[in-house]
């Protein structure tokens, strides 16, 4: 690990996406090396290919290279795809007798409040495989009815007959006393040791039975596939000489070891995108922007999240594939506003963009793969933002005539407007959809977007970001230099963090401090187990939080407890409650210090402190970017086209300064510098755009 030795060691970040597997290697001196390789049906094959490709860049054999890798952090979409494609395990569910249908009731929630035609969600555990067993705890955790072990045994035998592969167990109030669930889990292991077991008090030891059962069932459904995959990967890596630590990126921006990740697949559902958000936070720290809105525009969707004081914001309100996942996850809000999102005129003669997408096949009309409907990418091409000859560095030619035809026949003619007006309208609408998506995660959550910088990733995110910045009064847009491998960069730089959560219901005014400290200690021990080995991290820091609310409120506010020691004192708690009133006011426009405050959950983040990752910076070159100028072309920033400078982004150097209107074309990413905006390439290769303030920004 010493930078002075002749043979460096590396840490790897590996992100497997649908099309590409991205890898980043970071050595002790802060040199980053990256590569991309096509993803494979068994993703571990693509990963090994990618590592071999990286090894080649250093002139090493695969095993010589892996030998020198101390840490691999992996972002994987295996669990996500299992749930999205409904290709998961056959699941059996054990519940408290009388409550086996909660997962189907969904607390009466339906995605459409008006349509009786909306079909039911795909049943990942049909009722025939849901069995209630006699047992019951009361609301204080006391046993009302002991567990009927014979009933559990009988149910498991039935599951085996039905060729069930995974068993989920969720009993009422198990978060207060997990004995019954644990015993049921033991009986499953006795009767059928081959079955994957998912206990609700392991997955989400937290009040609210529907949220818990849904998360636990999703865990059982996705767990076997993720576990098998990780075992394969670990084996392949081991066979090639890897002896370092292997972690999997978690939905909350932390990491867990392979064994824990396989058991808690429900915590890995955002493993892929989490890398991007983590990278944003990593970059933000280096460039001094601690409050960031990150946007990632892909082919079908536009993902938005918020980072405040370098901490990505979390949500426990997620739904994926119409299943509720109540684990804390990065709060990534997704709308159907990607490059492939289709523009169409609806029955009322109104122009709409998305949510339907042309995806990558057939893709936008300009891809020339048979798509005829106009997409956002077609509009961007027609307006001059995209270069038909330089898409993906020129690897793919775009058909401008096809884009024009699609916009004209599907939008301009039906609306009786010119093709250019139609393309501008598509752009206006998708830009507004994006701005509203940003409002959703900022103003609706009590954040003022004007205090944030906008970090844009994805191939087209930086085409539009200047517009969102203008809309929302954001002063700075950042397009990271590592944009094409952003998620992998996030993986390699991820904090080693494990989150623990326990429900504990008390009045804040009369809290049992000893009990709380004992519970925090137990949570810390459990977190240490999950983080495992501890080679990369030499020290651990525990951050404690409580979920507080006014009596009667149902939604809690997570408030950090500031302590100087390992113990929470009465004074600490008092300060925490005072902080709660302030946060409540900010989020909900009122506070009520006279009202009793309830404590609902304890949370603990255990963070393994790593050596600070120091990236190599390049000295500034001259300001004039002329060397990268490839020409000019007309670009529409409104009804009239303007001559914009076009730059080859791959030739831009730190220190180069570009005044808009301009377009920067680099492999996989296009950056539009709007008129009046100024872009500077910084020492890390990031493109920093200062946004012209036309007027006071408005929410």
């Amino acid at each position: 690990m010493n930078a002075a030795t002749a043979y460096p060691t590396w840490m790897l970040g590996i992100d497997v996406g649908g099309t590409f597997t991205d890898l980043v290697a970071l050595d002790g001196e802060g040199h980053l090396t990256s590569t991309k390789t096509p993803s494979t049906p068994d993703p571990s094959v693509g990963v090994m290919n990618g590592i071999a490709k990286l090894a080649g860049k250093f002139g090493l054999s695969l095993s010589d290279f892996l030998n020198r890798c101390t840490l691999i952090v992996h972002g994987t979409t295996v669990a996500t795809n299992t749930l999205l494609e409904f290709s998961g395990a056959k699941v059996g569910l054990l519940t408290t007798e009388g409550f086996r249908d909660e997962i189907e009731f969904r607390r009466a929630y339906k995605e459409s409040v008006f349509s009786p035609r909306l079909p039911a969600p795909h049943p990942i555990v049909p009722r025939r495989l849901r069995i209630g067993v006699p047992e019951r705890l009361d609301a204080q955790g006391g046993i009302l009815r002991p567990l009927d072990e014979e009933a559990v045994r009988e149910a498991v035998r039935f599951f085996v007959e039905e060729e069930v592969e995974a068993v989920a167990v969720c009993f009422l109030f198990s978060f207060l006393d997990p004995t019954h669930e644990r015993r049921a889990g033991e009986i499953v292991a006795e009767e059928a040791p081959h079955l994957f077991v998912s206990l609700s008090n392991d997955v989400l030891p937290q009040i609210r039975e529907f949220e818990r059962v849904s998360t636990t069932v999703v865990n059982a459904y996705t767990g076997p596939a993720l576990q098998r995959y990780l075992e394969r990967l670990e084996q392949s890596l081991g066979e090639e000489g890897f002896t370092g630590e292997l972690y999997v990126m978690q939905s909350n921006g932390g990491v867990q070891n392979v064994v824990q990740s396989g058991r808690l697949a429900a915590g890995c559902l955002l493993s892929g995108p989490a890398g991007g958000v983590t990278a944003a936070s990593f970059i933000g720290e280096r460039i001094g922007h601690h409050n960031l809105i990150t946007v990632d525009m892909g082919g079908t969707s536009y993902d938005v999240s918020v980072i405040e004081q370098l901490q990505p914001t979390l949500s426990t309100e997620s739904w994926i594939s119409r299943y509720r996942i109540a684990l804390p996850m990065l709060d990534i809000h997704t709308v159907g506003a990607g490059g492939g999102s289709i523009a169409w005129v609806d029955g009322g003669g109104l122009l709409q963009v998305g949510p339907r997408s042309a995806g990558s096949y057939p893709g936008p009309a300009c891809y020339g793969r048979g798509g005829t409907e106009p997409t956002v990418t077609d509009a961007n091409l027609f307006l001059g933002y995209l270069n038909p000859d330089r898409f993906l560095g020129g690897e793919m030619k775009l058909d401008a005539a096809a884009a024009e035809r699609a916009i004209r026949t599907h939008i301009a003619e039906p609306l009786g407007i010119s093709t250019i007006e139609a393309a501008i309208a598509i752009s206006e609408i998708v830009n507004n959809n994006m701005s509203n998506a940003i409002r959703f995660v900022t103003t609706q959550r009590g954040y003022d977007p004007r205090r944030f910088a906008l970090l844009a990733a994805g191939g087209a995110g930086a085409i539009h970001a200047g517009r969102q910045a203008e809309d929302l009064g954001i002063e700075t847009v950042i397009v990271p230099g590592f944009a094409p491998v952003l998620c992998a960069l996030g993986d390699v730089s991820a904090p080693l963090k494990v989150t623990e959560l326990r429900t504990r219901f008390e009045r804040a005014a009369s809290v049992n401090l000893e009990g709380i400290n004992a519970l925090f200690d137990e949570m810390e021990r459990s977190a240490r187990d999950k983080l495992g080995g501890g080679k990369t991290a030499r020290q651990f820091e525990a951050r404690r939080y409580v979920d507080l609310r006014y009596e009667g409120e149902v939604h809690e506010v997570t408030v950090p407890i500031r302590t100087r020691t390992r113990r929470v004192t009465a004074l600490n708690l008092e300060a925490t409650v005072a902080q709660f009133h302030v946060m409540h006011e900010r989020l909900y426009a009122h506070q009520n210090p006279g009202q009793p405050v309830e404590l609902l959950n304890l949370r603990l983040d255990l963070i393994g402190l790593r050596d600070r990752i120091q990236l190599q910076e390049s000295p500034f070159d001259e300001e004039n970017p002329e060397a990268a100028l490839t020409g000019r072309r007309p670009v529409h920033f409104g009804a009239k086209a303007v001559q914009a400078h076009i730059y080859n982004g791959d030739l831009l150097k730190p220190g180069h300064m570009i005044v808009g209107p301009a377009v920067i074309e680099q492999w996989g990413t296009t950056i539009v510098v709007y008129p009046g905006h100024e872009a500077l390439i910084d020492a890390l290769g990031n493109c920093m755009i200062e946004v012209r303030r036309e007027r006071e920004g408005r929410l």
Binding site: G98, E102, R127, A425, A589
Partner: protein, 584 residues
């Protein structure tokens, strides 16, 4: 730099932003209100109105409880009538009187005006079901009510804030008349907070685009919705279609209360005439006109595409006629405390039954005949609690063309979220003993209703319960040849010597600590002839325990044999049986 986008595009930008403001209001209410009716059940609606002339118009809304929708429209109108010449920035208005536009007095509407120049231009509003409303019965449902005053506190249009100043005296008057004052103030703060947040956002929007542009954008958005709804209506064959349905009783001895809907489709116009419905009744099931309109509106909206923005334009093609003095448009002071369930359910059902004759594939079974039961008692420290026993009656989703009913509530009630059982047991001296689907307890059809429920709730402290039965004799109807749902049943103090199966109504029946309420709640109605249901789907229902082998045969003509323990479909016997029934 930026060109002015065309009006249509600006309309989308402004409209989309107003929608997101309405959603933000909803988020604020959900997260900060105290009573579980808001924060767990989401029994509220947020909306934004404009005021182009004397009439306010619904501009944007966030889906909460859908059946508040039109009631909030008329409540806002009445508030504007009352304060037209006395509106100032910083005012907060409140009304709950059903005869000032509304449904029942448990639903309160809060509105704040947002000014552009000197003119109130946009009006964010929240309408919510409150945990209590004073009056004779905790929780507000008083089956013995004989007039509007016995329904609960009657609040005409008043100001809670005047020019930004809280009217403490008015607050104290309201809190002093409420059993759940400890929740109520927080709930009102949540509603007001939501309106304040919206007012800030709207002010920004007005400054940014200017009043004229926003007004034009709103006009064009409403026109757009109207156009879409007219296109839907125009696709239905012209004609007059009539249906009638019945509420079991009015809780005061009057039985078989008729709701009759005559729907006339004429081009893109739709006329709904409730002439022929029963005269107003003594009991508290009278539906004020705005409640009637609200249910008609919800019925129509479930027949249209979901992507149509909900606003005033929805109602423009529709006229509603309801003769004064009838159960669908009572004269004051007729009581109407129960109108949002009974006869509201029948109003929606009658309209949909009529529409099913001209637009069968668009119509879903959407009634919610709720067997309501409210319990109350005292915590050990003497504070009162009111438990609405939500689990007992939340259910009954009906089928639609192409889709079985599923989950719990039908769309007419969705948006209402069931509280968590564990949270309820922490907050109330109550325990849920059972909450699951019950076999053979729903309307069969080519697509069946969601299964019915069997629910048992135990109250651990001494309690009193009022039960208001519905859907016992006149059960949820099936559509287009499907079967009706079974009868709801509620038993108070089940398993004890004084156990009472409630025929129509029970008022403040005492149960000693440990008493159990048992609910058998009908599932939804079906759509289409059960003999047309795919036999494999029936087998699936048998395997899942939604339908028994016996009922598979009786209701669906599907023959299922048991081979070993496994039920297996006998297809030849099924075909023969179904042919036999069709020809007989």
């Amino acid at each position: 730099m930026r060109t002015n986008p065309s009006d249509r595009i600006l309309s989308q930008v402004v409209g989309g932003t107003l929608d997101s403001v309405a959603q933000e209001m909803s988020a604020v209410v959900t997260r900060t209100a105290r009573s579980p009716l808001f924060n767990e059940a989401h029994d509220f609606t947020t909306g934004i109105f404009d005021l182009p002339g004397s009439q306010s118009r619904l501009v944007a809304q966030a889906p909460g409880c859908t059946l508040h929708l039109y009631a909030v429209v008329s409540a806002v109108d009445r508030l504007m009538e009352a304060f037209r010449y006395d509106l100032h920035p910083g005012d907060v208005l409140l009304v709950n009187d059903p005869y000032y536009g509304g449904s029942h007095s448990l639903d309160w509407t809060i509105v704040t005006p947002v000014f552009h120049g000197r003119k109130p231009m946009l009006l964010p509003a929240v309408r919510s079901h409150m945990g209590d409303n004073g009056g004779p019965v905790a929780g507000g449902y008083n089956p013995r009510s004989r007039d509007i005053w016995q329904d609960g506190l009657r609040i005409p249009p008043i100001k809670l804030y005047e020019r930004g100043e809280k009217r403490r005296d008015v607050f104290e008057m309201i809190l002093g008349n409420n059993r759940l004052a400890h929740w109520l103030e927080g709930d009102l703060d949540a509603m007001i907070g939501a309106c304040k947040v919206a007012a800030e956002r709207i002010q920004s929007l007005l400054e940014r685009y200017g009043g004229d542009a926003v007004a034009e954008a709103v006009d064009s958005r409403i026109a757009y919705t109207e156009k879409r709804v007219r296109e839907e209506i125009a696709s239905w064959p012209d004609g007059t279609y009539t249906a009638e349905t019945f509420a079991d009783h009015d809780f005061q001895g009057m039985q078989d209360i008729q709701v009759r809907a005559t729907v006339t489709v004429s081009g893109s116009d739709l006329a709904i005439d409730f002439t022929g419905s029963s005269p107003q009744v003594a009991g508290f099931v009278n539906s004020p006109l705005s409640n009637t309109t609200s249910f008609a509106f919800v019925a129509i909206s479930t027949c249209c595409d979901e992507d149509i923005p909900i606003n005033e334009g929805y109602m423009n093609p529709v006229t509603v006629t309801a003769p004064l003095g009838t159960v669908v448009n009572p004269k004051p002071p007729a009581p109407c405390g129960h109108a949002t369930a009974c006869v509201g359910a029948e109003i929606a059902e009658a309209v949909l039954l009529a529409l099913s004759q001209c637009a069968p594939n668009r119509v879903g079974v959407n009634a919610h005949k709720l067997p309501l039961a409210y319990s109350h008692g005292q915590y050990e420290d003497g504070r009162p609690w009111v438990n609405l026993n939500f689990y007992g009656y939340t259910g009954g989703a009906g089928a639609a063309y192409g889709t079985d009913g599923w989950g719990l509530y039908p769309p007419v009630m969705t948006g209402v979220i069931l509280p968590s059982i564990e949270m309820t047991e922490l907050q109330y001296p109550s325990r849920v003993l059972q909450h699951e689907y019950k076999a053979d307890f729903t309307g069969p059809g080519r697509w069946r209703g969601a299964p019915g429920l069997e629910v048992r709730i135990q109250h651990l402290a001494d309690s009193r319960t009022s039960v208001m039965m519905a859907g016992v004799r006149h059960t949820t109807q099936g559509f287009c040849g499907a079967g009706a749902g079974p009868s709801n049943r509620v038993v108070v103090d089940e398993g004890r010597p004084g156990a009472l199966e409630v025929p129509e109504t029970a008022f403040n029946v005492g149960m000693a600590a440990g008493g159990v309420l048992a609910f058998h709640r009908s599932g939804g109605g079906g759509w289409g002839d059960p003999l047309d249901r795919e036999a494999e789907a029936v087998l699936d229902d048998v395997l899942n325990g939604y339908v028994s082998v016996e009922h598979a045969f009786a209701d669906y003509g599907v023959v299922i044999q048991s081979i070993g323990k496994k039920p297996v479909l006998d297809l030849p016997a099924t075909i023969a049986e179904r042919d036999r029934r069709r020809s007989s």
